[in-house]
Amino acid sequence: MSTFLGIPRRASHEDEESPLRGTLPFPKAARKALANDQLRRNLAHATAVIRTKRALVVDEMPDWEALRDTGSAVKTQVMANLPELLEQFEANVIAHGGVVHWAADAEEANRIVTDLVRAQDVDEVIKVKSMATQEIGLNEYLEERGIAAVETDLAELIVQLGHDKPSHILVPAIHRNRTEVRDIFLAEMADAPADLTDEPRRLAMAARDHLRRKFLRSRVAISGTNFGIADTGTIGVVESEGNGRMCVTLPETLITVMGIEKILPTFTDLEVFLQLLPRSSTGERMNPYTSLWTGVTPGDGPQNFHIVLLDNGRTNALADQVGRAALHCIRCSACLNVCPVYERTGGHAYGSVYPGPIGAVLTPQLTGMHGHHDVNSTLPYASSLCGACYDVCPVKIDIPTLLVELRGRAVDSDRGRTIPGGWDAAMKAASWVMSDPKRFVAAEKALAAGRLVAGRDRKIKHLPYPGSAWTQSKDMPAPPKQTFRQWWQETHHE
């Protein structure tokens, strides 16, 4: 008997604004970011630093490839047995005094959390940095209902105070420099010292004072989780600053929102993931804080523990033979840091809380692609398929192949359109030409006419649309006098 996860359901939000769906097609959103020099400098610097750190600590591991293989195998096993594992997890959480809630989508999860917070009669909660709660827009949801959700992760706090959106999974304020941070603190943090400078230590101290007051006062905390362990019912968060640990130990009530794919079968699986995650993520051998909690322990830590198991499109991805590999992601963000596209556009261009290469795969899977007018359909194309993401992924998600498959689906979802687009016509014609040598040779003859538009230097500086996109930044060589096959016939007489 297995748990019925419900009919696969996609949080479609096709028309509304959602943390998982942008409003601009990727190329347009990217253009904005590319025009922002400060942003590009900040990103280039930060990603380069973290790339180097990661490479160092990964290269020193003699068994890194074996660890990746194991991580990947565990995740494959999890996806194959997800219903059973979730059921086992649920039973163990309950056995240890926790309460388990199931949420099919963002709305349901937000409602459950809000009700739990209201039951404690508070109007402020503290938060551990969490992608799951960002994905459902929990902070905004709570705020609309009169509950302030205070982020305690430093970078998250900067984003929150700046009325901004995170731009990176791990380093949400990666696009900000320290002068910008000081300005945000001075303007938005009521208890910031008036003489605050942009010295990193002073900034950290100001945030620490501000947060300490929150930690000591708050009765309810909300977290996400890095792992949920089926055979013990244990939840875990890894972090660098220790703010998360304050949240999961000081308040009376702890509410954890967990994407259902975060399950690990056994406690010993942690030995693999606690090696893979910090090295891939922050480039550290070990993260400074690992907090694990199992239900409720009388007299120690939160005495009410709730976990909300979130689907929000995941069973849909799970039902997808090719796409389910994207659910293996442990949100380390290594693929973002090596992606040349992410490095230049930043996270906002992807329109989703999941940016970068994995976002380009995950977002369309969680919320669907509905034809060429859908911004999601542009995400699988936000990659040059250079493959750097696949190389660094600690659980070996073959992102380039997933991107190609999703491109195929984006194209397929448009088939049968009454007026085919320019790309359709061009690709159909090219397929016709490239599957027949006679047609190809004829096309080469036509191409030779391109020699006429070239300057005397044999450079073409302006091509008609869509080639104009090419010649905006670079020249095109004029076609040669003789194709290779003509040369071959002349020289090899065949």
Binding site: L385, C386, V411, A469
Partner: protein, 249 residues
């Protein structure tokens, strides 16, 4: 050895010097080169643009042409085309349920090599007797680097070239921004990537930038040319095919 040449569609139409150099190099090394004349394209452009169904006839044609030809191994002077033969052709065939075509494509892929792989792994040579008196920097293209894992084979070959002054390219492993139709669909991002690559190439002080892919070189070369840097691009095959006599001319 009897070596079938995959000229690649781009190489045939726009960069015939690359396939020519490959032919002359292999002939100089004492091998027989055959050019199956009906060949066209490996299907990569369609696959990477998402037109997977449209790729199938292109792939089928490639497989039929090379199956009919008589050769020991096939070679393409292009990491990305060999990557497409090895990693994409069977995939698109399977996707439309044509398992027979997938098997045939896989069998063919098993004897298809990128130029530096063929030279170093199959023909077991690193000194091809080339002479090329230029300061050269090498860009390892993404597909050679990550799909094929050619590693330092191209560098091993380049180091044996006489007269060459080989200089390291900073940020070598970063994509040049081409990515096929990516350079058109995401032209702004692609141009930003290219700008960095061009800056790095120019910074080396090299007068030639080489790589194992005509397509990436077309992109980098286009940027170098637009900015009047004076640096030219040249395919690895052309350097390896150069000899004292040809350079003198």
């Amino acid at each position: 050895m009897r070596i079938a040449l995959i000229a690649t569609c781009l190489g045939d139409a726009l960069f015939p010097e690359v396939a020519r150099a490959t032919t002359l190099l292999l002939e100089r090394l004492g091998h027989e080169v055959v050019f199956p004349p009906d060949q066209v394209c490996c299907g990569q452009m369609h696959v990477n643009t998402g037109y997977l169904a449209e790729a199938v006839p292109v792939v089928r044609h490639h497989v039929e042409v090379f199956e009919a030809a008589d050769f020991d191994v096939a070679v393409a002077p292009s990491g990305s085309c060999v990557g497409s033969v090895r990693h994409q052709q069977a995939m698109v065939a399977r996707r439309v349920g044509d398992t027979l075509l997938a098997r045939r494509a896989t069998a063919l892929a098993g004897r298809t090599y990128e130029l530096s792989e063929l030279l170093v792994d199959v023909l077991d040579v690193t000194d091809v007797g080339a002479y090329y008196p230029h300061r050269v920097t090498y860009h390892p293209t993404c597909h050679s680097l990550r799909m094929l894992r050619v590693g330092d084979k191209p560098l091993k070959l380049l180091r044996q070239v006489q007269g060459i002054d080989l200089v390291e390219l900073p940020g070598a492993q970063e994509c040049c921004g081409f990515g096929g139709t990516f350079s058109i669909k995401n032209a702004d991002t692609s141009s930003a990537m290219l700008a960095d690559k061009v800056r790095n190439v120019v910074g080396t002080g090299a007068d030639r930038c080489t790589a194992g892919d005509a397509s990436c070189l077309m992109n980098i070369g286009g940027g170098l040319s637009r900015q009047d840097t004076g640096v030219r691009t040249i395919h690895l095959a052309e350097i390896l095919a150069s000899a004292r006599e040809s350079v003198a001319a």
